[in-house]
Structure formats: structure tokens, C-alpha cells
Amino acid sequence: MRCSFHFTSNIITRNELERGLLMTDFNRRQLMTLGAGAAALAGLGVPLDVLAQASAKGQLTIGFPADLPTWDPNARTLAAVQSLYKLIFDQPLAQNEDASVRPSLVTKYAFTSPKTLELDLRTDVVFHDGSAMTSEDFKYSFFERQQQPVPQGGRKLDTSFIWRKVTGIETPTPSKAIMTFSEPMPSAVAWLYFLASFVVPKAHLEKVGVEEFTKKPIGTGPYQFVEYQQGARLVLVANEKYWGGAPKIKNVTIEFIRDPTARVAAFESKRVDVAIDVPIREAQRLGTQTGVTTSIYPITDIVLLQITKNGGFADDKARLAAHHAIDKAAISKALFGGFAPTISVPAALGSPGYPTGYEFKFDTAKSTALLKELGFGPDKPLKIKLASTNGVFPNDFDTARAIVQMWKKVGIEAELEAIETSVYQERLRAGTLPEATLFSWGNAAADPEFYGGYLLDPKSIFSAFKSDELAPKIQPLLIETDEAKRLSGYKEFHQFAAERGFTIALFQTVKTVVHTNNLNIVKHVNGHILPQTYSFKS
């Protein structure tokens, strides 16, 4: 079995702070009764329940920042919408609140050889159409679908790339599946609870086809699909026959509200009960209001500088000097209210690949000394370029600006450039990234392969730093089936990469959830928002 681990969660909860009569409450009640707008509305005959708070009807409404591109859960690996797929579909394995793995559709698993993974499936699981989930559905979801021909102008499923090492899945019984791989795939277990790895109903999908399936998806998950409007909302009803027990909240509506200001406004006007990913300052402000609870907590996603050996960063000392010069704690305090834990390697604190007790120190003296060795200093600065997105993830450009100022003090003059994500991807692919680029990396599974394994493997399409020194260290870990050896290997690898200046990790991403006090929510450090774990307070 895999290790269970716990993250240091820095969670604030301001529960019903009594601050007297709040303006918003006063305005809402009094003005609705007395205001000209309400009078006009009544005159027009608009029923007030059109405007009423959703939860008043025993329904949960969530203001969510992203919409999904397709209802085929195997098609895309977009991290931001995995929570939405988890409402309707199940994964073979699941994660606890602390990101540790737990059984789901799969009750037991074991590598019987480096290339064979045996899995026992539950026998009491049914799809929303009432048909039983068996190992045939598992085989279809993780092998057969990937082998199907791609239609003209179409595109392979993302799971085709993820599970490309799977050479076959045997199904000796309806509750047993045996996966065989072309080469060892130790991360296979983690992939069973990571991106796009959902079980879909074989018989139903083959009967109706993908197009019809995506119009009304059917899974084994805790909620059943009722209605979906692209870019607007998703309406769900509890699956009363859910194998894990029916969700306590029976009706859930997800409102897709991309604009953070609108999400805050929707919450303040009580049009949503929960608002996800609101700006930290807004979350803190809302947390002081009566009847509102704010949770701000770090998740397993990280923010780092993707660095290269290009230009001024050709020398290890220059990169190390740049790393030592960044006061990550100050950035966390100034921009993230101190809730973003600083990290020294590209992995979340406490995750299996994080070297215990290791710290890459903020040390301007050391930074200055390293730069001096290269002939640079405040009077003769090292000139580099720093690229950053602006508005793609919270405070991205502000973080980059803070780093520029910190570098300036030690003698690194960085020219800051705002870029789009698509430009970053193009430069990454073409190998033309500048010395440093601020980047956010998602890893809900928290497996070390999905941190350093992807970010630092020179063969990976996600790695910016291509070094011959990294390949011999990372390649054995990608096929290491001894779990303890694999994890300790990643810890050493991550530390090595930081000490040699191959990566500049900054801090963990912060999640904000604002909700009404009549609701119990469960915080997951992998960043997932799972209303199936929520309940209304009695």
C-alpha cells in the first residue's frame, strides 16, 4: 500500500463573528421592503422567489470559477474541472481530505510483478441507468477506448497518452481486473485517482455513442446529471443508490462564474451559498460578516519559476544567486495573507516527494557573494528576462514584480514581460523560454512523479530545464516499482535539483472557500471541491 501523509494545513475559520448590525444585512432586508427597486419589481409582478436565496429551498448553489469543455471525462486532463467530473463519475481510487489514497471502485490493488497490476473491484456499484459496473467497464475505460480509431479531424482521448503503457486488461471475473504494462509504471496507482481516470459505462456508451453520451452523461458517481448549460450552470440531483451512501445534500447547482468580482457579489447577494477561489482579501473581508465562514488553506498545487540555462542563467551560480535572493515568506505574507507555505523544492510540503527538513534559505549575502564571483553586483547587474502571466492565477504578475525588486537589490536586473499561457507553451515547446518564467503547476494526486518527474525530466514536454545531469537521476525513478525506494529517490532528486539551481520553487497555491454558516464543508488539500461531502447544519 502507498504511504498516507498529512499536510500542514493553515486554515482560518471565522465563524459567526459578531460585529453588530452589518450594512449588507440591513440593506438587503430593509431596502427590499422599502426601496424603490423592490416596489417597482412588485409593480411589475416579478415574484420574489425569483430572487430568493437558493439554500432557502434546501438546495446548494456553488459559484465555481471554471466550466468543463466536454462531458466525456476521459477526454481532457484539465485540473480545474476534475471536481465537476467527480460529481457524476467515480475513479478507481479516491483521496482522503489529506490527499492520502483510499479505496473507491477498487477495493484492493497490488503489483504482482513490475509490469502487472491486479485490482479487485466492488460488486455493489451501479451506473445511474441501473446497470451494474463490472471489470468490463474498467477495461473499456482504461484500455479499449484508447485503442479505438480517431475520427477524421478528431483527437485522441487524453487517457490514450496517460495509459499508453497499458498493453492489455484481463477481466477473469466481473470484479477483478489485471492490467499489464509494456514497461513498469509505478505511477499507475496514482493515476487511478488523478486526471481523467474515470470509469464510464461501456454498454451505454457503445449504444448511444459519445455525442449523445456527452449530452446526458451517466456514471456511478454520487450525483446524477439533470441539466447543463455550457458556460452557465450544471444542475444535479443526489444518486440515492450511490454505493458510498447517498449525498446529504440532494440538489446541487453549480453556477459557472468566471469573474472573481461577480463570484463575490453573487455570494454577498446570497445567490450562491458557496463561492470558490475568491481573492484572499475578499475572502478575509467576507469572513468577518455574520453568518459567513471563510476557509483559506494551502493545496498541493505549487507556484515556481520555470528556469532555463538560456542567457544570463547559463551558470549554476547565477541561478542559485537568484533563488537565494527571493524572500518567499515576504511574498506569501504580502500577497497571500501568509497562507501560502513556502517551498524549497517543486513539491508540496509533507507530500511523499518533499525532502523532510530541507530548506533552501533566503540569504541575500550568499546571493551577493555568488553574483560577485561571476563579476556582477548592484553596480553592474546581471541582466535577464522574467516572464509571467497576468491574471491566470492569483497575484501572478504581482509576485513577478516582487521578485524583480528582490533581485534588483542583489544585482540582478530582470526585464519583466507579461505573457499569455499559450505563449508560454509555445516557448516551452520551442525551447525559447527566457531565463525565468513564473508558472503554476497543479498536482492533486501529490505523487512526486507529477512534480519533479514531469517538471525536471529533460524528456518531459513540461520541463523547461534540460540538463544531461538530470536524466540519469530521474529515468530510474520513473520505472522504480519499490515504493519506498521510489519516494526516497524523489526526495533526493528534488533536493539535488534545488541545490544545483535547476529549479526555483516558490510556494504552494492557496484555496479560498467562502460559504454560509448553515453549511458543513470538507476541505481537501488536493484542492477538490466535493459537495458530496458537504451537509446542511440541522
Binding site: 449588507t24 440593506n27 438587503r28 431596502l31 427590499m32 426601496g35 427597486g37 423592490a38 409582478g45 416579478v46 415574484p47 422567489d49 425569483v50 430572487l51 438546495q59 448553489t61 459559484g63 466550466d67 466536454t70 481532457r76 486532463t77 479531424g153 478528431g154 483527437r155 487524453d158 497518452f161 496517460i162 499508453r164 486526471l195 456527452t214 441539466e227 448549460q229 455550457q230 458556460g231 452557465a232 450552470r233 444542475v235 453556477e255 459557472f256 462564474i257 468566471r258 469573474d259 468580482t261 461577480a262 457579489a265 453573487a266 447577494s269 445567490r271 450562491v272 499569455e420 499561457t421 499559450s422 505563449v423 509555445e426 516557448r427 516551452l428 515547446r429 514531469y454 514536454i461 513540461f462
Partner: protein, 343 residues
């Protein structure tokens, strides 16, 4: 009149062809010249350089620019906008779902804008020289000074949060389910399904985004109408009307306004076109699932087929509005009809 209108529409349709060709070529070229890679953006973990190359071939991105453009154009002539790189669905399917929402919103916003513009313009004229004119004049300045997206946020704050008169998220209250799609237009479908609760909810949800769009066109209409009325009021026929003892308000409404409305009508055509541009940010802020929202997603993900298609649809809509306004202009302006007759 009908013949002239038909003649005009045919002429406009012919003129639209080179315009659409130019726009499509321009959009196509600019998007390809940007240093961004839609395929690299959508690569999943486990993909290799070989996969990347194969995907470029699958989307035709390995071909020369003229080749890519001609293939896209040929497909377009068969009503095929291609497949979305981000959504993994036919672009036509995405547009057919988003377009009715935008058309409903723009139509409602357009009507509100024209209503505010004309009533405000008349109000400014009637109250000329008095404090009423000053108030309305100042309000047009404020309306013009603030961009639509900021109006959207202000409307949410004032009429959505502080004074929660109107809902501002999506198109329907959370507890209401969509009616069966008959026309694709939610407003029409709600009416056809005889669901008053749906109809009211849809209208209430449209109010704030439509108002944000309306504020974008109303002040100019107000000012142009007032100026036209000020010119018209000194015409001989107005003086004659006064001598006949007709009341001032009746003179304005029955005699001056129809003549002063022509420049305003031209402006309505132009402003109506601009209104579609305004939907991009307004729809995002109000989580309104129309073309604007789709465009934002497409731009964020550099989804070239969707960006091209939406840009082209916007162009068609603007040309369509201009053609309709020209026909209305022809109907209300007798001089144009006389010009069309043989000597």
C-alpha cells in the same frame, strides 16, 4: 418600396462577400502570426514530441498558411467551422448553443438602449435651457465616460448586491429547469411552453447585462437626437405648425421628431454593431452563456477554429444589422425612395 428594399438587401449581400473574405483572411492571418501554440496548450501528460507532431497534422497546422486558409474556407462554404481544439466538439455545435443567448441579450439591450436614448434625447430637448437638460447632459457624460464592463460591475453592486432587485448570474434561477428546446431561444421557448415563471426569470436575468450594454449606446443617441431636434425646430413647417396653434409637445412628437430621427437611425445601426463587441466582457461578468463567453474561453486557450468562427459570426451580425437599418432608413425617408425611381 418592397422592391427597393429587396434591391438594397441584394446589393448589401453582394457587398458582404468581399468584406467577409477580407475579415476572415485578416483574422486567420493574425491568429497564425501570434507566437502561441494551441496544440502545445492542450497536450496531456504522457504526450511526446511525436504526439505533438501528429496532432499538428490532424488539425492541419503543418500546412502552409494559404493552404490552411483555403481548406478552412472550403469547409466553411459547406457550413463546417471545423472542430474545437479545446472543447473537442464541432465549432458549429458550440456556436449554435451560444448564438441564441447573445442574440436575445443584444436584442433586449438594443431595445433598452434605443428606449433610453430616444426618451432621454426627447427629454433633453423638451427641458432645454432648464436644469433638466443639465442633469440629462451630465448623465450622458457619465454614461459615456464609464466603459461597459465597469457599468456591468457597478450594476451588479448597486442593483444586484446593495439593492438586490435583479439576479445577475446566468440565465435562469437555480431552482428552475430549462424548458424543452424548441427554437433555442430561451425567452421564446419559455413563452411557447407557457411557463410564466421561466419567462419572468429569464427576463430578470437579462435585465442587468442588457442594461450594461444599453448604457453603451444610449448617451450618443440622446445627444444626436437632441442636436437634430434643435436643428429641426427652426424649420418652416414647425413655425407653420405653431401658427396653427398646435401644442409644443405635439409639434415635437408629431412633426419635429420624425424628421430629426433620421441621423439617430443611422447612429443606431452603427451602435448596434458595437454592441456585439461589448458582449464579450459583459457576458463573462454576468456568467451569461453566449458568444462573448465562448470567445473568452477560446482566446484563453488559443482555440483557433473557435476564435475564427466567432469573429466571423460577429462580422455577419454587424453586416446584418447595418442592412436592416438601411431598409428601415429607406422606409422612413421618402427622399431615398424618390431617388430610387426612374426619372
Amino acid at each position: 418600396m418592397a422592391f427597393l428594399a429587396l434591391q438594397l438587401l441584394i446589393k448589401r449581400a453582394f457587398l458582404a462577400v468581399p468584406i467577409l473574405l477580407c475579415v476572415s483572411a485578416l483574422v486567420f492571418l493574425i491568429l497564425r502570426l501570434l507566437p502561441a501554440d494551441p496544440i502545445a496548450m492542450s497536450l496531456p501528460p504522457g504526450a511526446t514530441q511525436a504526439d505533438y507532431d501528429m496532432m499538428r497534422i490532424a488539425f492541419g497546422l503543418d500546412r502552409s498558411l494559404p493552404e490552411q486558409y483555403l481548406i478552412w474556407l472550403a469547409k466553411l462554404l459547406h457550413g463546417d467551422f471545423g472542430g474545437s481544439i479545446f472543447f473537442r466538439r464541432p465549432v458549429m455545435e458550440l456556436i449554435s448553443k451560444a448564438l441564441p443567448a447573445t442574440l436575445e441579450l443584444v436584442s433586449f439591450g438594443f431595445m433598452l438602449g434605443v428606449l433610453i436614448g430616444i426618451s432621454g434625447g426627447l427629454g433633453m430637448f423638451i427641458t432645454r435651457g432648464r436644469w433638466g437638460e443639465q442633469v440629462l447632459d451630465s448623465s450622458t457624460t457619465i454614461m459615456m465616460a464609464i466603459p461597459e464592463f465597469l457599468w456591468a460591475i457597478l450594476l451588479i453592486l448597486f442593483l444586484g448586491v446593495l439593492l438586490p432587485v435583479f439576479p445577475f448570474i446566468g440565465r435562469l434561477a437555480p431552482d428552475l429547469t430549462l424548458p424543452a428546446s424548441i427554437t433555442g431561444f430561451l425567452l421564446v421557448d419559455s413563452a411557447l411552453s407557457l411557463r410564466l415563471d421561466l419567462l419572468i426569470s429569464v427576463l430578470a436575468h437579462m435585465m442587468l447585462p442588457a442594461l450594461a450594454l444599453a448604457i453603451g449606446i444610449a448617451p450618443l443617441l440622446m445627444r444626436v437626437l437632441r442636436s437634430s431636434l434643435l436643428e429641426t425646430i427652426h424649420e418652416d413647417y414647425v413655425t407653420q405648425a405653431r401658427l396653427r396653434g398646435i401644442s409644443e409637445n405635439r409639434i415635437v412628437i408629431r412633426h419635429a421628431f420624425p424628421n430629426a430621427a433620421l441621423p439617430t437611425l443611422s447612429l443606431i445601426g452603427v451602435q448596434g454593431g458595437f454592441m456585439f463587441g461589448g458582449t464579450v466582457l459583459v457576458e463573462m461578468i454576468f456568467a451569461y452563456p453566449g458568444l462573448g463567453n465562448l470567445m473568452i474561453d477560446a482566446v484563453r486557450n488559443h482555440d483557433l477554429p473557435v476564435i475564427q468562427a466567432v469573429a466571423l459570426i460577429y462580422c455577419v451580425l454587424v453586416l446584418g444589422i447595418n442592412a436592416v437599418v438601411d431598409v428601415i432608413y429607406l422606409a422612413v425617408n421618402p427622399r431615398l425612395r424618390l431617388k430610387g425611381r426612374p426619372a
